[in-house]
C-alpha cells in the first residue's frame, strides 16, 4: 500500500502543477490584466499607468512571469486583496478555509452515512412500487436546484417557523456583547470560538479512532456495543464541556447557524449516494460469496450488511471520490445562499468586485482543497480494500 500512496501522491502533485499552470493561463488570457481596477480610472496619467505596470512586472516576458507565479505560490505570497485592502490574500484565505472545511466535511460525512444506509436497505427489496418510488425520490433530491432548495429551507425554517437563523454564521448582536479576554470585534471573536469548536471536534474524532483501533481484537458483538457506548460517551463529554465553559452559548450560536447549510447540502447530496449505493449493492448481489453467506445460514440482514455492503462500499467510495468536486460545488453554492463566510462566498464576492488577486488565490486554494480531499479519499480506499492494502 505504501507504494500505491506514493504513486498517487506523485500524480496528485503533478495535477496540482497542471492546475496552477492553468490558472496562470487564465490570468494571462483574461482581458486586461491585474491592474484593471486600479488603472482604468481615466484620471490616472498614462505615464503612471505604464510605470505601475512595469513595476509589477507585467512587461516581462510570459515565461518570466510564469516563473515568478510559481515562486510566489511556493512562498505563500498570494498578493494583497483589493477589496479588503490591505489584508494579504493568504490571511483572508486562512481565516475562511476552516469554515468551508467544516461545512464540507460535516455535510460529506452525514450525507454519505445516510445515503449508504438507505441505499443498502433499498437494494434488498427489488421491484415493485418501492423500488421505483425510492428511485424517484432519490432522483428528486439529487436534481433539486440547490439555490432554490436552500432558499426554500431558509424560507420555511427561518422566516416562517423561526426555528433557525436566516444565514451568516453568527448573530452579531449576541456576539458584540460577549466578552472574551484579549479579543475585540465579533470577527476575531468568531474565529476564536470557531477555532475552539474545531479543536473539540478534531480531538473527539481522534479519540474515536483510537477507540476503534483498541477494540479490534474483541469479538464482534461486544465490540459493537463498546463502540456505541464510547461514541455516545464522547458526544456527551464534548457537549458537557462546552455547556460548562463561558463561551458555551457562543459555540451553540455557531452550531445553530451551521445546521441549515449542513442539512441542505446533505439533502441535496444524499440522493446521489443512495442511488449509487443501491446500484452497486445490486451488482454485488450476483456475486458468489453472497450465495456462500446464505448457505452458511446467515440471516438476510447479516448477509446484506457484513458481506454485500462491505463490498459495495468500495465502488460507492469511488463514486464518492468522483463526486467530490460536485459536493464541493454544492458547498460553494450553498455558502452563497446562506451567506456562510467561507471560500465559496469569498470567491463570488471577489469575482464581483474584480479583486483579481483574491480570486486567483481563492481558486488556487479551492483546487488544493479538492486535490487534498481526493488524495485522502484515495488513501482511505486503499486502506479499505484488502486487495490493495496487502499487495
Amino acid at each position: 500500500m505504501g507504494r500505491y500512496v506514493l504513486r498517487r501522491s506523485a500524480q496528485i502533485l503533478l495535477t496540482l502543477f497542471l492546475f496552477q499552470t492553468l490558472l496562470f493561463v487564465i490570468l494571462t488570457a483574461m482581458p486586461g490584466d491585474v491592474t484593471n481596477q486600479m488603472l482604468n480610472n481615466p484620471d490616472v496619467p498614462p505615464a503612471v499607468a505604464a510605470e505601475t505596470r512595469r513595476a509589477l512586472g507585467l512587461d516581462d516576458p510570459v515565461l518570466v512571469q510564469y516563473g515568478r507565479w510559481w515562486w510566489n505560490f511556493i512562498r505563500g505570497d498570494l498578493g494583497v486583496s483589493y477589496s479588503e485592502y490591505p489584508e494579504p490574500v493568504v490571511d483572508i484565505i486562512r481565516e475562511r478555509i476552516p469554515r468551508t472545511l467544516t461545512l464540507f466535511l460535516t455535510a460529506s460525512l452525514v450525507q454519505f452515512l445516510v445515503g449508504f444506509a438507505l441505499g443498502r436497505v433499498l437494494a434488498w427489496r427489488r421491484g415493485g412500487l418501492f423500488e421505483y418510488g425510492s428511485t424517484i425520490v432519490g432522483v428528486m433530491f439529487y436534481t433539486v436546484f440547490t439555490p432554490w432548495f436552500g432558499l426554500m429551507m431558509i424560507f420555511i425554517f427561518g422566516a416562517r417557523l423561526r426555528w433557525l437563523p436566516l444565514g451568516k454564521f453568527l448573530d452579531p448582536m449576541l456576539w458584540s456583547q460577549a466578552v472574551i479576554p484579549g479579543l475585540e470585534g465579533s470577527g476575531s471573536k468568531g474565529n476564536y470560538v470557531f477555532g475552539r469548536l474545531l479543536l473539540t471536534a478534531g480531538l473527539a474524532v481522534m479519540l474515536w479512532l483510537v477507540m476503534v483501533v483498541i477494540t479490534r481484537k474483541m469479538p464482534r458483538r461486544r465490540r459493537l456495543q463498546t463502540l456505541q457506548l464510547g461514541t455516545a460517551g464522547l458526544l456527551v463529554a464534548a457537549i458537557v464541556l462546552w455547556a460548562a465553559s463561558d463561551i458555551g452559548n457562543l459555540g451553540w450560536d455557531i452550531v445553530k447557524h451551521m445546521i441549515l447549510p449542513v442539512v441542505t447540502v446533505t439533502l441535496v447530496g444524499f440522493g446521489r449516494t443512495m442511488l449509487t449505493t443501491r446500484q452497486t449493492m445490486l451488482e454485488t448481489l450476483g456475486e458468489d460469496y453472497i450465495q456462500t453467506a446464505r448457505a452458511k445460514g446467515l440471516p438476510e440482514s447479516e448477509v446484506r450488511d457484513r458481506h454485500a455492503a462491505r463490498n459495495a462500499l468500495l465502488p460507492v467510495l469511488t463514486g464518492l471520490i468522483i463526486g467530490l468536486p460536485y459536493t464541493l460545488s454544492g458547498g460553494i453554492v450553498t455558502e452563497t445562499i446562506f451567506s456562510w463566510p467561507g471560500m465559496g462566498l469569498t470567491l463570488l464576492t471577489a469575482t464581483n468586485a474584480e479583486d483579481v488577486p483574491l480570486v486567483m488565490g481563492t481558486l488556487s486554494f479551492i483546487g488544493v482543497l479538492s486535490l487534498g480531499a481526493h488524495l485522502a479519499a484515495d488513501v482511505m480506499y486503499a486502506f479499505l480494500d484488502p486487495r490493495i492494502r496487502y499487495s
Binding site: 497542471l18 427489488r126 432522483v139 432554490w148 431558509i154 460545488s329 479538492s370
Partner: protein, 334 residues
C-alpha cells in the same frame, strides 16, 4: 443469412447495410429491455413533455398570444396595474389583481413576474435554450470524451499519460468555481457556456471511464485482425473502437445534460451570464426583486422555474439510469 455464409467469390450486401441491420436489431432489443423499466419511460415522457413545450411556444406566440403582452422578454400587460400578479384562474384572484377591467381566467396561467411579463411564456421560451444548451454541451462532452478515451487507450504510453493527467485536472476540480471565474472574466453566452462546460466535463471523469471501456475492447480479436489487415490507426480507432464505446458515451450524454442545465441555472442565478432569459434568470429576478422569501402567496414566482429545472434534469437522469440497465447487463433482473 446466406449473404454472410456464402463463398468469398459471391457478392454480398455492402458492409454498411449489414451494420445498419445489426444496429437496428440491437436497437429494437435494447428498446424492449428499456421499456420494461417504468423509470426510463417516465424520463422519456418528461422529456417529450418539455419538448412539446418548447415547440408550442412559437405557435402560441403566432396565434393565441398577443406579443405585446406575452413576449417573454419585453411583454407587459397594461391592463394589470400592479406586477407581479397571481395567476388569473385562482379563485380569489380578482381581489388580488388590480386591473382596469375583469380578466379572462386563462389570461395569465402562471401569473406575471415583477417586470410584468407572463411567467408561463417565460417558462416555455426558456425550455428551448435549456435543451439547446444541454444537448450542445452533451455533444461536445461525448465527442471529446470518446475521442480522447479511445486514443488514450489505443496508443497507451506517453500519450495516455499526458491525456490522463489533463483529465485529472479537469476531473478533480469543482466546475462551479472555475465557471464563476471564467464567466466573470469573459462574456459568457449560452453557446460559450455549452462549449466550456463540454470541454471541462468531456475531459474529466467521463474520459477515464470510457478509456477503461476502450481498453477492454482493444484486446478483442477483431482489432488484431484489423491491424493485421493493414488498417491505419485512425481507421481502427474510428471504425472499430468508437462504435463499441457509443452506448456508454450515450449514457454519459444524459448525465452531462443534467449537469449542464444545472450549472447554467446556478450561474444565471448568481447573475454571471449574459443571457436574456432562462429558468435560472427567472429565479434570479424573483430574488433580486425581493419576492422570493416573503410569503407563500408568491408561489407562482417561487416554484415554476425551480420545479422545471428539477424535472428536466431528473428526466435526463432517469433516462440515463434506464439506459444503464440496458448497457450494463449485470443489473438486469432475470
Amino acid at each position: 443469412m446466406n449473404a454472410t455464409t456464402g463463398s468469398l467469390t459471391q457478392s454480398h450486401p455492402a458492409l454498411w447495410r449489414i451494420r445498419l441491420r445489426l444496429a437496428w436489431k440491437s436497437l429494437r432489443s435494447g428498446w424492449a429491455l428499456y421499456s420494461e423499466n417504468p423509470v426510463g419511460l417516465v424520463g422519456l415522457a418528461l422529456i417529450a413533455a418539455f419538448g412539446l413545450m418548447a415547440l408550442i411556444h412559437p405557435i402560441l406566440m403566432a396565434t393565441v398570444w398577443h406579443p405585446p403582452i406575452y413576449d417573454p422578454l419585453i411583454g407587459y400587460d397594461r391592463e394589470i396595474i400592479v406586477h407581479p400578479s397571481p395567476p388569473t384562474w385562482v379563485p380569489n384572484a380578482a381581489e388580488e389583481i388590480t386591473s382596469l377591467s375583469p380578466l379572462p381566467p386563462f389570461r395569465h396561467i402562471l401569473g406575471t413576474d415583477p417586470l410584468g411579463r407572463d411567467v408561463l411564456s417565460q417558462l416555455m421560451f426558456s425550455t428551448r435554450s435549456e435543451f439547446a444548451l444541454g444537448i450542445m454541451a452533451a455533444l461536445v462532452t461525448v465527442l471529446i470524451a470518446t475521442t480522447v478515451g479511445a486514443v488514450s487507450a489505443y496508443f497507451g504510453g506517453l500519450v495516455d499519460a499526458i491525456l490522463m493527467r489533463i483529465a485529472d485536472v479537469m476531473f478533480m476540480l469543482p466546475f462551479i468555481a472555475i465557471l464563476i471565474v471564467l464567466s466573470s472574466l469573459f462574456d459568457f453566452q449560452m453557446v460559450h457556456l455549452a462549449l466550456v462546460y463540454g470541454l471541462l466535463a468531456g475531459f474529466g471523469g467521463n474520459t477515464m471511464v470510457i478509456k477503461s471501456q476502450a481498453l477492454t475492447v482493444k484486446v478483442k480479436a477483431y482489432i488484431e485482425a484489423a491491424r493485421v489487415a493493414g488498417g491505419s490507426d485512425l481507421h481502427i480507432i474510428f471504425t472499430h473502437l468508437v462504435p463499441n464505446l457509443l452506448p456508454l458515451s450515450f449514457l454519459f450524454m444524459m448525465v452531462t445534460v443534467t449537469n449542464a442545465i444545472f450549472s447554467e441555472a446556478v450561474l444565471s442565478f448568481l447573475g454571471l451570464l449574459n443571457i436574456r432569459m432562462s429558468w435560472g434568470i427567472m429565479i434570479q429576478i424573483t430574488q433580486a426583486a425581493g419576492y422570493l422569501l416573503i410569503s407563500w402567496k408568491y408561489w407562482y414566482l417561487m416554484f415554476p422555474a425551480g420545479i422545471a429545472i428539477s424535472l428536466l434534469c431528473s428526466a435526463f437522469y432517469l433516462v440515463g439510469r434506464a439506459m444503464d440497465e440496458v448497457v450494463n447487463p449485470r443489473l438486469r433482473k432475470r
